[in-house]
Symmetry: C2
Subunit: 257 residues, 2 copies
């Protein structure tokens, strides 16, 4: 029926572990560049052996069925490791996809069945998002079969993956506003301008640097350090740090009505 050329999922089936045919995870990992947002996709390249031997080669989100003895978070980490080579990306659940027509395209169904070795009838997928900085020291070099893709190139993906990405972007933007997500794409010591640029690119807005600075000064989990930038062709900026503990405390307070 199908022959997988370098089917990534085939490689990850280990003896004595059972994939659950009903539960999967999909990961939407955004990569921040200076002026754009990328998303990581993996190649799906296979040949349909019935009929005319149609060759298919396209890209999809990294995802997989979940092992029966595996937590969803673990499955998401495994997917990233096995399909892209990235480890320890912080991932968060933001959605559950349960439509009965998720695997409605014939090609998608036979691909899934052949790579898993299971009969697939119903797959409920848990969606995760993540965010990394592609300009940082950690270069996030990924496997050959994976690619950092422009968001514009993700309009026509297999399954419901285009839709998943759209919703992930909204979830990331929301987390930037209210959470600590933005500090994950900053170096440990960062300048206010770096923080601002990251927020601007991810949320697609332009902010006034003077007011932005003012606002940050009264956030108590962003602490000014004694260090400054060096060797920059302008006034060197002060470096700041993110205080995890104080962040956790300030999270508790909620403004009700």
């Amino acid at each position: 029926m199908i022959r997988s050329e370098k089917g990534p999922i085939n490689d990850m089936i280990q003896v004595s572990r059972e994939l659950n045919p009903n539960i999967s995870v999909d990961c939407v990992v955004f990569g921040l560049r200076r002026n754009s947002l990328k998303v990581i996709l993996v190649e799906r390249s296979f040949e349909v052996l019935d009929g005319e031997g149609e060759k298919v080669s396209d890209y999809k989100l990294p995802g997989s069925l979940v092992y029966n003895d595996e937590l969803l978070d673990q499955a998401a980490q495994r997917v990233m490791r096995e399909l892209t080579g990235l480890v320890n990306i912080r991932l968060e659940r933001y959605d559950i996809l349960d439509s009965l027509e998720r695997v409605h395209k014939h090609l998608d169904k036979i691909w899934l069945e052949s790579t898993s070795g299971l009969e697939i009838n119903r797959v409920v997928s848990v969606a995760f998002f993540g965010l990394v900085n592609l300009e940082s020291d950690n270069k996030y070099v990924i496997d050959k079969s994976a690619r950092w893709m422009d968001l514009e190139e993700t309009k026509h993906l297999p399954f419901d993956h285009s839709e998943i990405i759209q919703r992930a972007l909204l979830a990331v933007q929301e987390s930037i506003r209210t959470g600590d997500l933005i500090f994950r794409v900053l170096p440990e010591k960062f300048t206010i301008a770096q923080l601002q640029r990251a927020a601007e690119v991810i949320c697609g807005v332009k902010l006034d640097s003077r007011n932005f600075r003012k606002k940050l000064k009264k956030i108590n989990f962003i602490l000014p350090l004694e260090e400054k930038q060096i060797k920059v062709a302008h006034k060197p900026a002060r470096l700041f740090g993110f205080d995890q503990k104080k962040y956790m405390e300030s999270k508790r307070k909620k403004n009700l009505f």
Copy 2:
């Protein structure tokens, strides 16, 4: 092994539909009373037939495995209909429970297996919350095997249901702040005081009525009507309405940084 006395889940298995042994839903439906919040639980009453024939009778959240041809939202509605008699409760997903130890108590496992007729190894559960007004005209009369329970009585439930309820309460409070949830527990035409009391009970706070009124006046999807209360032993209050369309529009705008 087990004999179910009036096992509610037994009654709902229909011919020709298959329950999926890996996916379940659990529903946390809060009921608003004048001064307290209740939550709906269903009776679990059965007799273990091995050993000493231990009798068990306790309460749990309404929940069920999901049919293979059923959406999660449909499953949640079915659960409420079949286990409590309530229909058309608005329910929202707020969590996924995937721990491997969810069904760690022996009693819970044999109960689940006997009522479903399936071997249970791994159940990932999707949690829903809902909110209804128990003081409204619609009395929300529920089946005999279900009960509106005080939150304080839900500390030691089977499975991980106590924890699920705690998290549901936080999700409801958050939705009250930002969403339209509160309008579902109000009559179509309501006074500002009614809205305030609902918010106070659900969120557990006390608010200044004069400032509360001021705040609501500039929310453009809460429209003042020409009607007033009658036959109340005090100055009659103006009635207000909720404008779904305007609410949807105002939802789009987000304040970024």
